[in-house]
């Protein structure tokens, strides 16, 4: 007899093995190795969490009581699997394309991302799931107690063992089930561990079966005889239950949160379904192959009254085959643990995404919701949820006392969770299904389930016997187990019939009567026609959204690395380099889908909505499309915008036209000026040359005089052309500055010498040489040109009796200032603003150029980075030249 200690040791060793496998698988997946982790075999095996301890032990018990009825539990899923082509494939495709995190998320997403629906489904799932977890704990405890009875030490304490089992499972689920948030990142560790457990439980059951058939009964034929000879040897099943349970198990197979988790959420590749379609039914067939033989042998060998639910353990034990019993125990243990772990994971995702997160988001102010570490909050919520769900299961087990009441809870849970079916199937195949329909259907089904099955099943404490007998307030047609007078049915059949049919009826009726929101219609189209187009639900306009805010929020949810990768990829897609992508509608949709993989569709929608400013334009846009008046409004506002734009453009054109006209006028004036300046000397030249040609008898004196005039006027023309050319070069900026270094004094020396060379009566120039010791780095020739011009002007225009020019230089904070002041009468006040204009001439002196000199000076000083200005109030004409000394340091 194996002692309890050995059993516990084996148990612990097995758990350590599971931890090891999960850990190794996670590491391999993270390292990018282990393609087999994503193989269809692993997927198929992970589906077998459908077979819980309840089926592992309970199937034999069921067979011992009701014959072949137990196969219905397996036939339902078989039918679902072989219809994968039009059923599961669509579910998986939708789940993956919408990045759905749970069954509640799927329903919520389909019906316009309604969180109300998600909450309903979550509550339903928790209500159905908690007793189910308790059932698993019970099966582990029961199997422990079998060994404990045989153990002389009597150390076994039931309560403590259940507690530790629950705690250990919670820890496993937390460790491996909440590593990452993103639904599209698989929990390879958990999935691989439960795949291993599937192999173990199948192996254990087959081993016991083979032992029973060949070891105890002595072959197939004797076994068959023994079956026919047994108490259950005749085909005798309840027709209603046969159909009901087949249907129910098929429905539950799709709707159970844990099944949805492994089938849709953890699905890596749609093509895996192709393999699972035959491999999973095969697994189920093998699981049920030896159920009847074990039951029959158990009934034969064991004393009457022994619990048939534990035949899988007690038959090998009674034959003294302790190790087989141990294996069988491990099989049952596997079934229970894998189911509990995945259920806890699935339920915690739902609870955190649909209950905790919306509440958490609501407690925050708008905008500031992204200030916290959302990722941390979500993960913590998920961990706490797992612990809470396990605790609920534990307390449910303790409170219910672990009696026979628990044994029936499996099917009760099936019936409860199946209430989702109409909304699910309707959502996938019928575009007309609405949120209202789903809510009404779920509510009707849920209340009928509670009223007709859950409450009566919980015993007298909750619903009194008189109510069950006579109905509430004596209303016979409201008797929970004979609703509307439908008597004589098995309670399970009765409930399923009423709840699911009325659920579906209410769902359809309310869907037909209600009008879906635009988002719902869009999502509906996406779900129903998922194979035709994979256009995302959508429609954010990001005009008001801040990419930066989105980035911050995404980092908080996905983590910094993935968020940056995602934004980088998006930026590449948009072709922007080195900055955040524009919040285009397409980008926001992809982001929402990415986020919904972590926090669920409704929450992701709400979070993006907060940043984008709550204006889910999908709704607005669709309303605009759906509602004609809105469409007209939009059209007219667009027209308004257009006409505003037109008048803006017109104004701009007018302005441009005015400018052009002005420029044209300036050009005309300039051309007129140039023409005048050219034609005037030309006139003299022509007139005198004709005089000299046509006039006979000109004196030599006259001839010389006229030739001199012609020569002077030709020179004047040349100067004018030079100046014009110079100005044109300077104005077009084509001038190349020839930078050089010299002191100001040297430049002035040269300028004074040049300007006054050959002048008959040069004016006096007064300078202060010490202050001119300033080093310059500039175009020295150009600067000299400016100085020469100023000195020549003074020479030409200074009307004082004793003309004198004072040149003074200062170094004023980084720039050199040179003033040229003469002692003449200066420029009249009204002409001062004009002196730098082209062809502006001061006075009517004909001595010099065409009036371009100062204009050229101004252009030169601009090119040199300085300026030239007229200094009023200095007595005579006063010009100030200033030049920055920015290059002084470099020049030294």
């Amino acid at each position: 007899m194996a002692t309890l200690n050995v059993l516990i040791l084996v148990c612990l060793a097995y758990v350590v093995l599971l931890f090891g496998v999960a850990f190794a698988a996670d590491r391999m997946a993270a390292a990018g190795r282990g393609r087999w982790l994503r193989s269809p075999r692993i997927y198929t095996l992970s589906l077998s969490i459908y077979c819980t301890a309840w089926t592992f032990y309970g199937a034999v018990g069921n067979a011992a009581r009701s014959g072949l009825e137990f196969v219905t539990i397996y036939l339902g899923p078989t039918l679902v699997m072989i219809s994968w082509w039009w059923g599961l494939r669509k579910l998986v495709r939708v789940g993956r394309s919408q990045r759905v995190t749970s069954i509640a998320d799927l329903i919520s997403s389909r019906y316009g991302k309604s969180n109300t629906l998600a909450i309903c489904v979550t509550i339903l799932a928790v209500l159905g799931g908690t007793p189910y977890i308790a059932l698993q704990l019970q099966s582990i405890t029961l199997s422990f107690s079998i060994f404990a009875e045989a153990d002389p030490s009597g150390l076994y304490r039931e309560g403590a063992s259940v507690f530790w089992v629950a705690a250990g499972l919670a820890m496993f689920a937390i460790l491996f089930g909440t590593r990452n948030l993103d639904a599209n990142e698989r929990h390879h560790g958990v999935v691989t561990a439960i795949a291993l457990e599937s192999v173990v439980k199948l192996f254990a059951l087959l081993a016991v079966g083979i032992f029973v058939v060949w070891g105890v009964a002595g072959g197939v034929t004797p076994m068959m005889d023994r079956i026919d000879a047994s108490a259950i040897g005749r085909w005798d099943v309840d027709t209603g239950r046969w159909i009901t349970i087949t249907f129910l198990s098929a429905a539950a197979f799709v709707c159970l949160p844990r099944m949805f988790q492994v089938m849709v959420v953890e699905n890596d590749d749609e093509a895996h379904l192709r393999t699972a379609a035959w491999a999973f039914p095969l697994y189920l067939l093998l699981m049920s192959l030896f159920v009847v033989p074990i039951a029959v042998v158990g009934l034969d060998l064991l004393p009457a009254g022994s619990n048939p639910d534990l035949f899988v353990l007690t038959v090998p034990l009674s034959q003294g085959n302790d190790w087989l019993a141990m294996l069988s125990f491990i099989g049952g243990f596997s079934s229970a643990t894998s189911m509990v772990i995945v259920t806890a994971m699935a339920l915690s995702t739902m609870v955190s995404n649909h209950l905790v997160m919306p509440i958490w988001l609501n407690t925050r102010e708008r905008r500031s919701s992204i200030s916290g570490d959302v990722r941390g909050v979500v993960l913590m919520a998920r961990r706490v949820s797992i612990a809470a769900i396990m605790a609920l299961g534990f307390f449910y087990y303790r409170l219910s006392g672990g009696g026979a009441a628990l044994a029936s809870i499996g099917l009760v849970a099936f019936a409860g969770i199946s209430q989702i079916l109409p909304a699910l199937v309707g959502g996938l195949f019928w575009r007309g299904a609405t949120r209202t329909g789903a809510l009404v259907g779920l509510s009707v089904g849920f209340s009928l389930w509670v009223y007709t099955l859950l409450l009566p099943g919980m015993g007298g404490g909750v619903m009194s016997a008189s109510v069950i007998e006579n109905g509430p307030f004596g209303l016979g047609w409201l008797r929970p187990q004979a609703l509307f007078g439908l008597e004589g049915l098995d309670p399970m059949t009765h409930t399923v019939l009423w709840s699911l049919s009325l659920n579906a009826l209410a769902f359809c009726a309310a869907s037909l009567l209600s009008f879906p929101s635009p988002l719902e219609r869009l999502q509906g189209a996406q779900f129903v026609n998922v194979f035709d187009h994979s256009v995302a639900p959508g429609g954010w306009t990001g005009s008001v959204a801040q990419s930066e805010d989105l980035m911050i929020m995404t980092q908080r949810i996905l983590g910094a690395g993935p968020a940056q990768d995602f934004f980088q990829a998006e930026a590449d897609r948009q072709g922007v380099r080195g900055r955040l992508p524009e919040p285009t509608p397409g980008f926001l949709e992809r982001l929402e889908r990415e986020l919904s993989g972590s926090v669920g569709a409704a929450t992701a929608h709400a979070m993006i909505g907060q940043i984008v400013g709550g204006s889910s334009v999908s709704v607005e846009d669709l309303l605009a499309v759906a509602d004609e008046s809105a469409q007209l409004l939009e059209y007219s506002s667009r027209l308004e915008a257009k006409s505003a734009e037109l008048s803006r453009t017109a104004r701009k054109l007018r302005e441009a036209n005015e400018k052009l006209t002005q420029i044209s006028k300036q050009k005309d004036a300039f051309l007129g000026q140039v023409s005048h300046e050219l034609r005037t000397p030309m006139t003299s030249i022509r007139a005198f040359s004709e005089i000299m040609r046509d006039t006979d008898g000109l004196s030599a004196d006259e001839t010389r005089r006229y030739a001199t005039i012609i020569h002077d006027e030709a020179l004047r023309l040349t100067r004018l052309l030079d100046d014009l050319l110079d100005l044109s070069v300077l104005e077009n900026g084509q001038v190349n500055l020839n930078m050089g270094d010299a002191t100001l004094r040297a430049v002035l020396d040269r300028a004074v010498a040049t300007a006054l060379a050959g002048v008959e009566r040069p004016l006096r120039v007064r300078r202060s040489l010490p202050s001119e010791r300033i080093a310059l780095h500039t175009d020295l020739d150009r600067l000299g040109q400016v100085f020469i011009n100023l000195i020549s002007n003074a020479q030409k225009y200074c009307d004082a009796a004793d003309p004198m020019l004072t040149i003074s230089a200062y170094d004023v904070g980084g720039q050199v200032v040179i003033d040229f002041v003469d002692n003449g009468s200066g420029v009249p006040a009204d002409a001062q603003s004009m002196v730098f204009e082209k062809f502006a001439r001061v006075g009517f002196d004909k001595a010099g150029g065409a009036g371009l000199g100062l204009a050229i000076c101004r252009e030169i000083m601009q090119r040199l980075g300085g300026e030239i200005s007229y200094l009023p109030g200095q007595g005579g004409a006063a010009f100030r030249v200033s030049l920055p000394l920015a290059h002084r340091q470099a020049a030294q």
Partner: protein, 126 residues
């Protein structure tokens, strides 16, 4: 009979050339180099013919002509206008102001002489 022409022109070289030409034709040439008081100069000189430059310091030739024509006794006075700007708009303006003949610089000497003769002949006939 002494024919008197008043030449209002600010370019001394051009003034000299025209004075040379018209003196040889037998004209008594008086000159004025400024626009500001040109009208007064004409009224004072009572010439048989006026040669008027457009671009004058002080007042433009156009304004001088316009003011001149406001005086009743000056409406028939032949005025030959010279311009160096050579834009057609100037010609229109001058015609509106009541010019007798409009010439663009640079001109040929014969042109000027012909114009002066014609204008004088017309004036004498009436």
């Amino acid at each position: 009979m002494s024919r008197k022409v008043l030449l209002i022109e600010d370019e001394p070289n051009i003034t000299e050339a025209i004075r040379f030409l018209l003196t040889r034709e037998g004209w008594n040439v008086e000159t004025h180099a400024e626009g500001g008081n040109a009208v007064e100069a004409i009224l004072a000189a009572r010439p048989d013919l006026v040669i008027l430059d457009v671009m004058l310091p002080g007042k433009s030739g156009m304004d001088v002509l316009r003011e001149l024509r406001e005086h009743e006794e000056m409406q028939a006075l032949p005025v030959l206008m010279l311009t160096a700007r050579g834009q057609s708009r100037d010609r229109e303006m001058a015609e509106k102001a009541g010019v007798s003949r409009f010439m663009t610089k640079p001109f040929s000497n014969t042109e000027v002489l012909t114009a002066v003769r014609d204008l004088h002949a017309q004036a004498s006939r009436t």
